[in-house]
Symmetry: C2
Subunit: 117 residues, 2 copies
DNA sequence: CTCCTGTCTAGATGACTATCTAATCAGCCG
DNA sequence: CGGCTGATTAGATAGTCATCTAGACAGGAG
């Protein structure tokens, strides 16, 4: 089995929807959107996302995320990054030795718009 | 043990924070905020919140949420409402026979602001 | 008071998740 | 190639969660 390490998987693209206060979500929309919110529902992932979105260059090296700031092991960080990636909130790219992550802005904006009251 | 059914519990008041893209969240802020996002991370809760926030009167009777739209039992709906309530996203009040829920607007707005990019 | 309806709590169960250690893959350097 | 570092995957385990059924509580009607 030749499973490759594919960092750039393209997931959950373009979900939808007006603000939740305007029209009731249907089940299918809710399922997609809940996947994204669920990914935000962990303190470590939220901090990772914050570090990624606030990176000055628009992206950040994983090597800058595995420092002592988060007191979990490297594989755990990697697991959380994968969760954020599969939710469509970030995307990653390997360049030589290092892997860089950046936010998927339109999906983050969509979540923000959804909560606008 | 005289545990009363208190629908109006006051939880998680006023958490904080500039947009995640402006400054990295610290661990304490992330914990509070993740609790709210986690509550949004379930399709049924997201739909419930949508129904509540989009209710024409600004609130909605639980009896209007336990219909056939959601194919889970009444207690499960009740459980999800409790989760949303304890996360500080909605608040409820009994008036006679019925219980009404309404959104906690400032907390929803806070989440939206947090995701602004 | 007694019955009925609406809503919630309690307890059980199966599924999922966060975390770890160990192992693997990718790329660089000598 | 052989070894080194960065990052991910695999597999195990303990804890959490969504859901159900059964039972309890609140309030109104007879």
């Amino acid at each position: 089995m030749s499973k490759q390490l594919v960092v750039l998987d393209t997931p959950a693209d373009q979900v939808c929807c007006p603000p939740i206060a305007e029209a009731a979500l249907d089940a299918a929309q809710a399922t997609d959107l809940a996947r994204m919110f669920k990914a935000l529902g962990d303190p470590i992932r939220l901090r990772l996302l914050s570090r990624i979105t606030s990176a000055p260059e628009g992206e950040i090296c994983v090597c800058d995320l595995t420092g002592d700031d988060f007191d979990v092991t490297g594989p755990t960080i990697s697991h959380h990054l994968k969760t954020l990636r599969e939710a469509g909130l970030i995307e990653g790219e390997r360049r030589g030795t290092w892997v860089y992550y950046r936010p998927v802005v339109e999906n983050l904006r969509q979540l923000a718009a959804l909560l606008a009251i």
